[in-house]
Each structure stands twice: as C-alpha cells, then as structure tokens.
Symmetry: C2
Subunit: 437 residues, 2 copies
C-alpha cells in the first residue's frame, strides 16, 4: 500500500505531549488570571463570512487571510480576536451588560511567509473591556495589573509594561505642523531601539522636516527620568495643543490609578516612543518587554480605542484591551530555556501489575482516580523490563508494582521515580495517596 | 457610514457569556476526567495538507470537507480528530511511548447541510489508546470506565453504555453466507429502534436473503436477558465460525474486566444491534445513551480498530478510542433543560465604589484577587441605580458597596445577591473572603 508522508504544514505548531503539557499549563495560568479579574468567556467561530470579517480590513492583513468559497459562500478564517469581538458585541448588544469584560483564548490564522518564529496558526489570549457610549479611564489602569499578574504567575519577574498615550503623540505632531507626516514619523521612532537616535533623526529629516522641528521630536522622545519626572517634563514642554494636553492628563491619571491598584514601580514605565499600530488606538497604549530578552519584542500589547464596532453598529462602543501572542511566546521560552520540559506525565502514579489477578490493580486504579489521583495502569502483557522502560519514558513521578505477594500481604512499595526512594504501605488508595507529593 | 450586518454563519454555535461559562465548565469536566485516567494532551492544526488529511477519506466525508487553495497549496480543515491523530503518531512514532494514551479536545469542521441540531463547526472530545504492534484487550474495558466517570461527573446517572463486538457480527454474516450483504444488513438493523422488528425483517428479505437466514438474523438481534445471559446465548448459538467465536470470547473478556474496574451493572449492557460505522472498527464497539432521552442518539461512541495509521506508515498500530460530540450534546442539554444557565458571572464578588477615594476599593480588589477570589470593581462614574442594575444583570453572587463612611469606619456590608442577606465585616480582604460561600 502506498504511504502518504505524515507531514504538518510549516508555520503550524505541533508539540510533543511533554511540551503540550507545559503549553496547556501556561494557557491555563493566563485563563485563570483573566477570570481572577472577572472577565467573561466567549468563543466565536474560526470561520466567518468574508463580508463580516473584512468589513474594515485592508492592505497587509487582507493579503494574509485564508479566504475561500464553500458553495457560493465567501468565507474567511479569523485573523485576530478583535474583529470577531466587534461582531459579537454588535450582534448581542441587547443581551450584554456594559462595561462588557470579555476574555477569549483561541487560534487565529495568518498566511504569513513561513520563517522561523512566524506562525500561520497561533493562539491569541485577549481581554477587552467595552463601554456603552463611554468607559472610565480607570479601566486603562486595570489592564496593566492584569498583565503584571499574568506574567508573575507565569514565573516572570524582570519585565516592564511600557505605557504611552496616542493623544500625546498626535497632539505633538499637530502642534509642530507634522500631522500629515505623523504616521511615518512614528514608524521611524518605533525603530529607535534597532537603529539608534542619529539614524532616527536622519530619517526624519529626509521627510522634509525642518531641523528645528526634528530637534523638538528628538527632544520629546529623549525625555528621560522616573515616571513622574517624564510626566512633569511633558507638562513643561508647553506644547500649545489641546490634544497633547489631554493626552498628558490622561497619562497622569492612568499612572495614578495603576499605583492605587498596587502595580510595583519596577514593572511599569512611561515610554514616549511606543505607538502601537497606526490608526486603531486613540489613547493609552501598552507594550510589555522581558528586560533580559528585549529581542523578543513586545510580549503583550494593546490599548484604548474609540469605537470597537463602527462597521456593524451606530452604537458608540469605546474599549481598552490587551493581547498575548502565546504560540510565539511559548516557542521563544522553549528556545531560550526559560521553561523546562521536565514534567512528562499527566499521571501522578503508574500501577504495574505483575500478576494474573487483575482484580486488585484495576480496583486500586478506580479507587485512586476517585480520590482525584491521576492514575494509569500498565495493561500490556510484557516482561518487567519492558514495563519499567515504559514507566521511565512516561516520566511518571511514582510507580507501584503489584504482584501476587503484594496482594497476599496487602502491602505495596511506592517508588519515587526521581529519587529512587521506595516506601512501603498498605495496598489501599487512601494510604497510597497520602504518600504522594 | 455603511454598516455590515454582524452575522454569524448558520451551523456555527456562538453562545452568550452565561451559556459559555456552562459550556466551558462541562468541557473542563471532560478534560479533567481524561487526565484522571492518565491521558496525555495533544493539539494538532485545524488546517492540514489535503493530501495528508484525505489520504483515506472518500464518499460522504470528502464532500463535506472545507477544502481550498492558499497560493499553490491544497489545504483542508480537519473533519475529525482521528485522522490528525494517525498523522501525529506516524510522524512522532520515535518520540512517543506506547501504549500511547492521548486526549484531544478541539473544533472540527464539516460542511453539512444546515439544519437544526447539525453543526458545521463543533467540538470533539476524544481519547484513544494506541499500541505498538499489539494492544491488550483490557484497554477495551477501561474506556467504558472513562465514559462512565465523565458522564457521572457531568451530573448524569441514568445512562447506558452499550457494548458489542464487530467480530461477532462479521462472523455471523460469514457463517450464514451473507458476508457481501453484511454492510447493508447492519445498516438495516441499526434502524431497529426507529422502524421496528417487522420492518427490519422485511427489508432484510428484500436483499434476497432466504427466510431461514433472515430468521437467524432476527433471532440473533433479539437475544435478550442480562449481560451474562446474552453472552451465554451467543455461546449456545453454535455458530461454526472462528471469527464469531473470537468475538464472543473478546466480548466476554471485556465484560469481565469492565466489572473488575468497578463499572456498575446499571450503566452498561451488551447490545448486539450496534455496529458503529462500516469498515473502521474491527472489535469492541461502544455507544452511549441517555435512557430518558434515547432520541438524542449515542452521546459517546467508539471502538477498537486494527490499524490507526496504515495510510502513513508500515507500523501496525492497533487502537481503541471514544469520542464525545460536545457541541451537539450541549445544545441538546440546553434544549431539554438538563442544565440551567443560572451562573452568569465569573466574578465571585463585585466591588461598587461610592466615593471619590478609589484607593481603598482598588487596593481591596487587588488583595482579594491575590487570595484567589475572582473580583471585579465597577469603575464607571454612574448613579447608584445604574451600578446596582449592572450588578443584577451580571449575576454576581456577592457585592460590597464602599462609600466614605465604610472607609472611615473600616467596615463594610457584604450583600448576598441571591438571598438579599447582608453581613457586616471589616473592610479587608481576609475577612471578606471568609464570608463568601
């Protein structure tokens, strides 16, 4: 019979079970943190009508979309969780309570050119808070707490949540007569980490900006100091522009409430160079960096937007949200050895019968499972050597071997597979459970 | 601005948050039960190469598949979790321990004609045990235990796992010279619940089967009595066919080990009319019915197969597995009021500030969250009436209102939203947590 090569598509992550256990654990940590902050779950289809999904999209995004016909229907796979959220909120508006706090964790699809670290199928872990008509600025301060708590629970300490406000940027460019160049200038500034200040200045000058104006921009992005000092310097810049002033005031308020929520000073900062995309965000913006691994880029980003669902409804629905790209983050964590694939087994214990009398081992398995001990029985009729090899490869923390002697004496040895240590106890579920760590 | 109607495709389940909470809880119960039996998680892509996914498929399945090109690549969405498992095991053979016990819970896609209760996107919750070359029959007895435990944990009591063995059926039809008609006969027998014995007999006769042979078939499917009586009557049938005898012996063994695992007699039975599909299964087969809602059909099915991955590898990989179609089951449970969408909130408590001083409410929220209490703060600047309306609609079990008095006296009332009862306590996280149920 002709065999087909069992291939997985490039750009699609497919993990071995020991890696999957770890991935699922991190995903669960994120989900539990989102729930801890009272976010509600939703689960939208992966396939949507192209007319719905692409009501707004264009340019680069549209090229990447998996789009196809089924019968006469023009369908697309979702490329993020924000557009489906907009559809969901517009569709279910009458049945939702606002502010609507939702989380969604799911796969999204982008037909990127395949390259290392780029995924075509990847998990996004999103939260958003959607207001009906208006939404308090304090929500902008709560999300950094969610980011902080999530990464702390994932085991990170040394990370920084960078905060900025798009009104400050837009107001500044308006004030210095560079509104039309603002998108391009922000794009250039975004590269400052990679190309340095001198190159940024040079590229800005190439846009036909005067030396004086370029100097103001450089002065602005070079504002340094503590969070409070930066805000003070912004206020002192005396930019005569309402939007700029509003942005500074918002930033000041967001920082104030971030502190009231108790976010440590070490884990956030004002960073005037971050802009997050080009037209979606209208206020607070966030990026998050691992300080020792800046090369990973932002591992959690988001911000405030004016109007979530304007393509679907006349209702004004302002919101603020963040997203973690988990698939890429996980692959980088593996690559950098930030996590260890040491837990190989879902089972807490493996029962190895060495007897014809299966009644005792099978009943014990059921009893242990009923005590919430994840339990597996080796059921194959093999030599003890093969059975032990299976236990080793499975990476199960404890094993017990049950032979006729053990049954007769109602006694069993529990072996800790990590230390090799053996402890004897009664052959019953309660006693055995008591000896598991 | 022109608005797009925010539609979701027919055949794609999209729940409101209160329904989603319930769905997620059931999904989690299933996952935890699968883990309790030591199954390992895998997560395969939703998109695969058509050449890989359709290596075996044909007929009805192929017509339903979502298949499309991206660039020059012929892609398909997975239509079950079994073919991806076969690919996965063949691909990762060297890195897996056998027997390989895996679970996978994920969405699959079938472009069925849209009709009530039929889904085009739905969750399957699968477990399979794959052997390398061989696999002990005791595994066939463990899966009914997993089915039993799963449905018990979901709150069901009155359900029956029906067990049969394909070898018995195939052997019988071979013995009575109806091997070529066997597929058609099994299809007819499958309808006995719907059309009754007389119609079954009539349809069988129409195949050109002799009256005597038809009588043997009817006698066979009418075998009644307890599980043990049925097995005894099978043995007494004196069918002179090796496969039949092997099937009866396997069934007998499977029943024996099912009892050793401790499955209650009430929850399983031998049913000689179930056949499960037409060519995939080769031994034990399972179907599961809610006794009071037989019209739902089987809510958990599966069986034993000879060779999982013959399209991808020369390795012989026998296995046994089951699958729960969760999306359809959930929609039926809702429809029949088997579950109540009463829990509306992920939050355990909602803090409602009635003060300008946000320091205390925000700090309390952080403290409660750190004690694993899911906590939400109402952050909008609204009148108390609007705030209470939000609390009501959210369906949160407890609220506390924090005004300047509460802060001054360091005292707060916790209101149980179900009973209306109010209890006073210190305004601190530990005391408040102690009063939550």
């Amino acid at each position: 019979m002709q065999k087909t090569e069992p291939r997985t598509l490039p750009g699609f992550m497919e993990l071995l079970p020991n890696e999957q256990i770890l991935f699922d654990k991190i995903k669960q940590t994120i989900e539990e943190t989102y729930k801890n902050f009272g976010f509600l779950p939703i689960d939208t289809p992966i396939i949507e009508l192209s007319s719905v999904l692409l009501a707004k999209a264009g340019g680069e995004t549209e090229k990447q979309i998996y789009r196809f016909n089924k019968g006469d229907t023009d369908l697309s796979l979702r490329f993020d969780l924000t557009v489906p959220l907009a559809k969901y909120v517009a569709k279910n508006y009458a049945n939702l309570s606002f502010p609507f706090r939702r989380y969604q964790i799911g796969k999204v699809y982008r037909g990127e050119r395949a390259q290392k670290g780029r995924y075509r199928e990847f998990y996004q872990c999103d939260i958003d808070i959607i207001g009906d008509g208006e939404l308090s600025l304090i929500n902008d301060s709560e999300l950094p707490l969610v980011i902080y708590t999530t990464f702390k629970k994932m085991g990170f300490d040394n990370f920084t949540i960078k905060i900025n406000n798009r009104k400050i940027l837009n107001g500044l460019y308006e004030a210095i007569g560079q509104k039309d160049n603002s998108v391009e200038i922000m794009r250039i500034i975004d590269k400052i980490d990679k190309i340095g200040e001198e190159n940024v200045k040079e590229e800005i000058l190439k846009l036909g900006v005067s030396a004086e104006t370029a100097q103001t921009i450089i002065k602005f992005i070079k504002i340094i100091g503590s969070t409070d000092e930066k805000i003070q310097k912004l206020e002192e810049m005396q930019i005569d522009n309402e939007m700029f002033k509003k942005g500074v005031e918002e930033l000041k308020q967001v920082v104030k409430y971030i502190r009231l929520f108790g976010l440590p000073e070490n884990n956030f900062t004002v960073d005037l160079t971050i802009a997050r995309g080009l037209d979606y965000y209208t206020g607070t913006v966030y990026e998050t960096f691992l300080n020792e691994y800046r090369e990973l880029g932002s591992i959690c980003s988001g911000g405030r937007y004016e109007n979530l669902a304007e393509n679907y409804t006349d209702k004004k629905l302002p919101g603020v949200g963040i997203s973690i790209g988990l698939t890429r983050l996980f692959s980088k964590m593996l690559e950098l050895n930030l996590i260890n694939v040491n837990k190989k087994s879902i089972s807490d214990i493996l029962i190895i019968p060495m007897t014809e009398n299966m009644e005792v081992p099978l009943k014990l398995a059921t009893d242990l499972r009923n005590l919430n001990v994840n339990t597996e029985v080796y059921l194959e009729n093999k030599k003890i050597k093969a059975k032990m090899k299976y236990a080793d490869r499975l990476g199960v923390p404890y094993i017990i071997v049950i032979g006729d002697n053990e049954i007769e004496q109602n006694n069993v040895k529990i072996k800790n597979m990590e230390t090799g240590e053996e402890v004897e106890t009664k052959l019953e579920a309660e006693s055995i459970k008591g000896l598991l760590k």
